[in-house]
Every structure is written in structure tokens, then in C-alpha cells.
Amino acid sequence: MSSSQIEIQLIASIVAIACAIPGTFLVLRKMAMISDAISHSILPGIVIGFFITQDLNSPVLIILAALTGILTVVLVEYIQKTGLVKEDTAIGLVFPILFSIGVILIAKNANDVHLDVDAVLLGELAFAPFDRMIIGGTDIGPKSLVIIGSILVLTIILLIAFFKELKISTFDAGLAASLGFSPTVIHYGLMTVSSVTTVGAFDAVGAILVVALMIAPAATAYLLTTDLKRMLLLAIVFGVTGAISGYWLAHFLDASIAGSITTMLGVIFFLVYLFAPSKGVIAVIYRERQQRTEVSLLTFLLHLKNHQEEEERHVNHLNEHINWQKVRSKTVVELAQKNNMIVIDNGVVSLTEKGEEFTSLAIDYIITNEDAKIEYMKDDFFLFRG
């Protein structure tokens, strides 16, 4: 690995961490799309900043861009507050218009400078190491590394300082307000941090990747845990993993680094989405099926308990009476037998003692409207789950 390769990976990883922190809160606050809006609408801010300073490296650009980001949030909220349209429509209206203004400004006035839309949207990480930051004649590293590094430090300081406030206002805005922190201040603080991070990062990795880095690791982590600290940590881990593996994928395919980092994040999310232990799709589908079989089992046992007559309890009759397909009744009967709840004697099904006990308890719970307790009961009675 050459030093520039290491630097690229370092930049990508730091951007990933810097994005993952506000991203986690955005995902939890159901404001993920705001990051998309911000990443687009900072364009006019950058363009105007460029007109003022005529210098792409000026910090004024970052400040103006962050201001446009906040302006977006304010506008979205204002439109939403009028009650004329819903929040998502408001977002969908504000950012394309701001973006259009930015594009037109570029097209009209900035033809001769290297400020084109592609670069803003997509960024090019590969060139980041060549843009050095030189202070007092000494080379202290790539410029974007310094910028995003300082943003990261700032974010972490803010995170630690306001962790408690952020946590409370995210999960219970009412409680936060009653405890005396203003949710509005926290909200705009978070928005400001998101804007600044977006602006700082887009230079290196492009606006789309910023959105991906904010949302994808946080969403992936959210599938795996419900603990805020662990979620933050996992989001950071996923972000960095995606960044580094994405870099090598890009190296291998000779393609855009931002694109391949996003792709890797997508792959990670997809895997977790499928295989996450309790919230993954496979687990959910499996659980749904288990629930369905167990509910069927309960219905079946209740039916047996209600009917003492032999003809109502005959195996052949059950099929038509409860109106299940053959396969399903077979699964249910087998499950009941495995759990020692029924015996089949000469084609007639009867409840065992254990089955009786289980069913009576279940009826009690259903009558007293405490259906949830059936779940615990299942743990006690079942040897095998559905």
C-alpha cells in the first residue's frame, strides 16, 4: 500500500465515522430523508460562497453551505407547519428547487471554473490526497482529511457533551421538554451538525455517498440492537468496514470509490436485513410461521376440549371441520403429538392431561384478556416449538 492509498482509506473511514454519528440519530428520529435533502440543497450555498470568495477552498463556503442546509430544514418545517402539505412532500419540494437554483447559478456564471455538478454530487476520493493542506510550509496531510477530521472531533465532543439530552429528546421529546431542555435547540443542533458534516464530507466523497454513509450503517445497526450506545458503535463499525472494503473493491474494478463504498454498504445492509437474529427478514418470516402454527394448535386443542363426542374428534372429520388444508393440519397434529398434548387412538383424537391443563390455562388467559401471557405459557409447556 502506498501512502496515498492509506490516506484515502483513512479519509473514507473518518468520513464514515463522522457520518454515522448524526446518521444514527436521524434514523431514530425518522428524519433520514432530511439528510438527502440537505446534501442536495447545499449546492446553492457552495455556489454563492464561491462567487463571494472566488476560492473553492475558503471556509466561507463551508459556512454558507451549512447555512443553506439549515435553511432547508427551516423551510421544510415552515411549509409543513402551514398544514398545506405533508412533511415528505415538503422535503420533496424544497430540495429540488434549491438544487435547481444551484445548477442554474453554476450554468449561468461559473462556466470557466472547475465547479461542476458531477463533482459536487459524486466527489472523487481518489484525488483527495493530492490536495494538500500546507500550513507554514509544512505538509500536515490532505486538506479533506484535516477538514473532516476536525468536524469529527467537533461532533464527538458535542456527542459526549450532549449525549443525555440527545438521547432523551430522541426517544421522548415531551419528557425532554418537561425536564427543561428545549427539543428545538437539540433539533437544530443536530441539523447543524448534519449540515456541517455533509458539507465537510461531500468535498471528499460526494453528496450521495454522504447520504448512504449516514443512513445505511445506522439502519443496519438498528436491525441488530436496540441499545443506543451499541447502535452508535455498530454504525461506526459498519461504516468503516464499508469504507475500507469499498475502497478495495474500487481498486479492483477500477471504478468510482464513492460508488463502491455505497455498494459495500448495501451488501452489508442486505446481509443483515436477511440474517439479523431477531429482526431480519428470515427470522421474521420464520417467527410469523411459528406463530401461525401455534395459533392453529391452540384452536385445535380448544376444539378438542369443546367436543366430547367421538365423531367430532375423528381425524378425518377434523380436516373438514376446522377447514385447514391437509398439510397444515398434519403439521399441527404432529406438533401436538410431539408435545404430548394429544393421543390418537383408533383415529379418534383426545387430549392428554397435559393438553387439558394447557388448554384450560389458555382459555383463562383469553377470557381475562391477557393474551400476551400465552407466550410465556408456551415456553413452559412446549418441548418443541411450531
Partner: protein
């Protein structure tokens, strides 16, 4: 047109997500076929757009992630993957690849006659389907559960609407580009929503707004050099929305504000009248004159309200004195009764 449904279904940002999600489809279609024929690319875009949409739905129904997260996720992941493929294509030794990126920002000028025909045909089909399934669409939109109990296949209708939204977006991509497509979908519908509460009227109005935005936008961008079409169209559409927000008669901000002011004035008028009534009540003769000065202590009293009361013949004014008229007394005594009756 279809945007109306998206706006009313609270799926506004779906347009944005789909337009981004279409990118890998375009790239893959190009990789497989090696042609730049727009219909082939659009089929690719359509497939990946639909894939994105259904994955979004899968995420929201199967996991506890919210729809905004799902949208943002699919949007950025698909787009990033698309970018990866595009840059990958650019490195390929194939001279034919230039111009794929026009899909990113759109260039109405690159449209050829066959594209326009294709759009016209698809729009026609959309229109026919819309008319055929009008009732179903409408009922699903406003009361999904009721639709289900009526025995309609909600899933099918749902997929139908979504597919058409995706189709419309994919077609529009070439004209206004990925980023601005969502505004094209939303802005006319959001503007139309302000003017009417009727779905059919809203759809027609949205179509008209959209068409106007398109025509004006293209005209403006053609009249100036260096002005790309897409952004101009979007800004024109945005102006429509702003105009609608402010000036729409029933929902607009301007009229709402006027109504608030009018209500406040009415209330003050009534308050003053009620105050006068209470003073007049203490006298045998209701028309007994009082000085205007005693009104000064009362909040809500202005000379203007007094003049208006006189104008309505509720009071008569002589010099510094006012007195309640017969009519004014009657109105004032009924003031609270009316309100009570209304409350009940």
C-alpha cells in the same frame, strides 16, 4: 398526474427514491446489451425502479425500520451502485458509452422523435388505465381497509399504481434527470391540491400545471444560453406551488390570514357590543345614553369598532355619548344564545 396519487398517499419521496434507483438498471441494461437505445435502457430502469420500490416496501413491512429510512437507504445504495457501474463502464474499451450520464441530469434537447412518441403512447396508456380503474384507485387511496372488505384485490391495485408511478418517473428521467424528477412528480400535484378537494379535479389540474411548467420552463431555457431545461422547469413548477400556497382561495396562506383577521375583528365587535349590552341592562331605558369614555377601559374597543357598530345601526352616537338601539339590544342579547345553540 400520477403525482396526485403519490402526494395523497404520503409517498411523495418515493419519486425521488425511484428515480435514483433506476440508475443501476440503466447501467446494467447497457452492460448487457451494449446499445444506447433508449427503450432498452428504460426497460432496465423500470425493472430496477420496481425492484427498489418493492424492497422499500419489504423493509417497512418486515422490519421495524421506518419508511423514511428505507427510502433514504434504497435511494443512496442503488444510486451508489449505479455510479459504480457507470464508472466501471467508462473504463471499458467501448466507444459507445458516452452519454449515459445524461440520464443523471436530463437533457430535453437530446430527445428524438421516437422518444416523444413513446412518451405520448405511455401517457395515453396511463390515462386509459387511470380511467378504467378510477373507482378502485380512488377508494384505495382514501380508505384501504374498506376497499379490502369490498373484495377488491388491493395488492393488485396497489402494484398497478406503483408500477405506473415508476413508469412515469423512468420516462421523465431523460427529460429532467434523476435529481429533479421528484419535483416534477410532486410540484404540480402539491399545487393542484391547494385549489380543490376533489380528486378528479386535482388530477386534471395537476396535469395542466405540469404541462404549463414544462412549456414555460422549456421556453425560458431556450431563450437564454447556458440554461439547462430541467432545473428551469423545476423552478417554474416551484413558482406555481408557491403561488398556490399563497393565493389558493380556501387553503392559501393569504386568505387564511385574511380570514383570521376578519374573525378577530368580528369577535372584537361582538365583545364591544356585549359590553355595551351589560351596561345598558342596568338601566330601565335601554337607549339611555352613556359616555364613550367608559368604553376606553374595555379591551378590544376601538373607534373603528364603534363606527362599525353605528354603521350597522346597533348604536347611535350623539357627541360624546352613545346609546344602544332597539336592534342592537336584541342582537346583543341573542349573541350568547346563538353561541350556546351552536355549541350544542
Amino acid at each position: 398526474m400520477l403525482g396526485s396519487f403519490a402526494v395523497l398517499r404520503k409517498q411523495s419521496l418515493l419519486g425521488d427514491a425511484i428515480s435514483h434507483a433506476a440508475l443501476p438498471g440503466i447501467a446494467i441494461a447497457f452492460l448487457i446489451t451494449g446499445t444506447k437505445d433508449s427503450s432498452v435502457l428504460q426497460i432496465g430502469a423500470l425493472i430496477s425502479g420496481l425492484l427498489g420500490t418493492f424492497w422499500i416496501r419489504g423493509i417497512t413491512t418486515k422490519t421495524h425500520l421506518k419508511s423514511d429510512t428505507a427510502l433514504g437507504l434504497i435511494l443512496s445504495l442503488f444510486f451508489g451502485f449505479g455510479m459504480l457501474l457507470l464508472t466501471f463502464i467508462q473504463k471499458q474499451p467501448n466507444a459507445n458509452q458516452a452519454g449515459l450520464d445524461k440520464y443523471l441530469f436530463g437533457q430535453a434537447a437530446t430527445l428524438v422523435e421516437s422518444d416523444v412518441w413513446l412518451m405520448a403512447i405511455v401517457t395515453g396508456i396511463c390515462l386509459i388505465i387511470l380511467l378504467l380503474f378510477w373507482k378502485e384507485f380512488k377508494i384505495l387511496l382514501f380508505d384501504a381497509d374498506y376497499t379490502k372488505t369490498l373484495g377488491f384485490n388491493t395488492k393488485f391495485i396497489d402494484i398497478l399504481i406503483t408500477s405506473f408511478i415508476v413508469l412515469a418517473i423512468v420516462l421523465g428521467l431523460q427529460t429532467v434527470g434523476v435529481v429533479l424528477m421528484s419535483a416534477m412528480l410532486l410540484a404540480p400535484a402539491a399545487a393542484a391540491r391547494q385549489w380543490t378537494n376533489s380528486l378528479s379535479f386535482m388530477v386534471v389540474l395537476a396535469a395542466i400545471f405540469g404541462a404549463f411548467a414544462g412549456v414555460f420552463g422549456t421556453a425560458i431555457s431556450a431563450s437564454q444560453t447556458n440554461l439547462s431545461t430541467g432545473p428551469v422547469i423545476v423552478i417554474v413548477a416551484g413558482v406555481f406551488v408557491l403561488f398556490s400556497f399563497i393565493f389558493s382561495p380556501s387553503r392559501g396562506l393569504l386568505f387564511k390570514q385574511l380570514r383570521i383577521i376578519k374573525n378577530r375583528r368580528d369577535l372584537e365587535l361582538h365583545k364591544t357590543l356585549a359590553f355595551m349590552y351589560h351596561i345598558a341592562e342596568t338601566h330601565d331605558n335601554i337607549s339611555h345614553p352613556h359616555t364613550i369614555k367608559i368604553l376606553n377601559n374595555f379591551q378590544g374597543y376601538t373607534t373603528k369598532t364603534l363606527k362599525e357598530l353605528e354603521h350597522k345601526h346597533y348604536v347611535t352616537i350623539q357627541g360624546n355619548m352613545w346609546s344602544l338601539t332597539e336592534e342592537g339590544f336584541k342582537v346583543a342579547s341573542n349573541l350568547y344564545n346563538q353561541q350556546n345553540a351552536k355549541d350544542e
